[in-house]
Symmetry: C2
Subunit: 365 residues, 2 copies
């Protein structure tokens, strides 16, 4: 794939759904396990989803779950929409690399590894982390475009390339993480634009702004939303939104890269465990051009950011957890990963009625 | 403790609450970690709870999480309240011992171990499993007492003794599991009695009975509830219910043992991860004589059994997961255990703002 161009229609056309035959086999195996039918609730559905995604029944445990944290700064932070100063983005990237952040701790515990990608941090980062960097920070989206179209296209392509790199290296579960002071503002704008919601409906407190900060943020979302609308014109005609234009106008390089990442994961038939509102917004952008891609994504949790629930509802995704999380980084996905592993293990390892000589009278109900 | 007598008032009087000083230290440490205050939502509360229970900040990961599955048959199964025949209880005990059941698979995955205790299975089980066995099956609670008072007292004492054995052997987290065809019927009766609810409000489909079975079950719960009421007379006078009489009339040896188990865990200052409606009902019985004991219990999930939600609400416990589980065995608790470990790990292992040189401007909000 060329680094500067991403053929979204081509990508979308290459996405197929998880294997229905394997899903049927997994449902049948669930019925034979030594438990009442349906007694493991959502775990049963999750096990079927993993089996279908892997094309293998019983499914196998994830051997290489991989978090990619897309870091970027946002010019909109100048508008006073975050409780934290912008330099925290770069400081947190250093914290990720030192292994001290929540995503590191949770990844170790859940048996996943973490890669950090600097897409637009307003600070210098190590060369390998900055290999796909598009620019430093972004334009204030309430007044100007976040990126040029070229930058947005490059970021999209970089995200897709990173997904390819990870799948080629053996990743069998991908988690898009995020880091960037101010990144819930563009996420809220993207969700409001694509789900046709009012600014106040999608604007949350991010890292924890006070009431005055929240009101400033609503105004920013409102102004940016006005700037987003021209890129949605194709939606009415069925052509779909101008995704590159939308991400350039009100997104950012991190959001564009995450969009390419979750799209390409679907092309590569690799399941994705979404995190919070930022990965949810990127997924919604991807969904607007490739609805079938959502069949490869699982919503790990519902965050307290209101735009997150809106995005998940729009994509028809039901979150696994609801624990009041709002950290990002991929942290919520990593809290849910053991639940997904539990789903896989029960389908793969439990004895059947026949194997255990347990009466299955009643199991057919 | 004498095997035949359990001094409930004495037990209740020996229960103290988790350490408030350690809880305060844990809350303060949470504020210094490299994340916005509150961003890990429920995980932060869970980490504080574990720290207070352990009297140690930062808390440490559970070294010996232990599931004890209390198995017993119930005469009420004759009334056609289950989708499965009664012999499944003994068959499932064999399945547990062979390692093929959901509880075994989930325990391996979550780093816990499983002990099976036969309190009243209507089949022969190995000598070590049957060491605390009180009788085979129980009376049909819609028509007669489940147990004699002596049997109920012995089962209560056995449960407390098992908790002592496990804590003495190093268990630092206890999970009460259940196995017994028909066991959701007495559980529903106990919850209806103590939470003053109508039969239809607390009666679920257990392993999956059809509509006719559900209506039979409601009638059984109604009749048993009438038999339960005399044992609640003390509630009005403040003396509390006659717990031994209540468990003898409408409980069972498994439920009585679980009641003693969760009470003694609180006496021993050992956190308990409750499972579904059966352990929830036993906990509610224990709570009726020792409300402070609930400070040592965490609700792992909300099952689809309606009595479960009623019991948790009554005890003021908020479930961690809501995944439509209804298997029992301790399975739901084991799905939640990794979430609890995640809470502990983030508090114990994340870098502080100072350690990571990250700006905490805004963290105080």
């Amino acid at each position: 794939m060329d680094d500067d161009v991403v053929d979204l229609a081509g990508l979308a056309g290459r996405i197929t759904r998880p294997d229905p035959g394997t899903a049927a086999a997994a449902r049948e195996r669930q019925r034979r396990l030594t438990k009442p039918a349906g007694a493991l609730g959502r775990l049963e559905d999750l096990s079927v989803w993993v089996a279908a995604a892997q094309g293998r029944c019983p499914p196998r445990d994830f051997a290489r779950a991989r978090v990619v944290v897309f870091a970027g700064d946002h010019g909109v932070a100048e508008a006073g929409v975050s409780a934290y100063p912008q330099e925290v983005t770069g400081q947190m990237v250093a914290n990720f690399l030192a292994g001290g952040a929540a995503v590191n701790v949770l990844a170790r515990l859940a048996g996943a590894t973490v890669r950090v990608v600097d897409m637009a941090v307003d600070a210098d980062t190590p060369a390998d982390v900055a290999a796909h960097k598009v620019r430093r920070s972004s334009g204030r989206i309430d007044r100007e475009d976040a990126l040029s179209r070229g930058e947005a296209a490059r970021a999209l392509a970089a995200g897709a390339r990173i997904a390819d790199e990870e799948v080629d290296a053996g990743a069998d579960l991908l988690v898009p993480g995020d880091m960037g002071i101010g990144n819930t503002a563009p996420s809220s704008v993207l969700v409001a634009a694509l789900a046709e919601q009012e600014p106040a409906r999608v604007t949350g407190r991010g890292t924890g702004v006070d009431d005055a900060g929240w009101m400033r943020k609503v105004a920013v979302v409102r102004d940016a939303l006005r700037r987003a609308r021209p890129h949605l014109a194709g939606t009415a005609t069925g052509a779909g939104p101008d995704v590159v234009g939308l991400l350039a106008a009100v997104g950012g390089a991190d959001l564009a890269a995450m969009t390419g990442f979750v799209l390409q994961a679907a092309v590569r038939r690799t399941p994705v465990l979404l995190d919070g509102v930022v990965s949810g917004a990127a997924a919604l952008v991807a969904h607007s051009v490739a609805p079938d891609a959502a069949a490869w994504w699982l919503a790990s949790h519902r965050s307290t950011e209101p735009a997150h629930g809106v995005a998940l509802d729009r994509m028809g995704l039901t979150p696994v957890l609801d624990l009041g999380l709002r950290l990002g980084e991929g942290s919520g996905a990593l809290v849910a990963l053991p639940v997904l592993r539990a789903a896989v293990a029960t389908l793969a390892e439990m004895a059947t009625f026949e194997e255990a000589a347990v009466s299955d009278r009643g199991a057919g109900r």
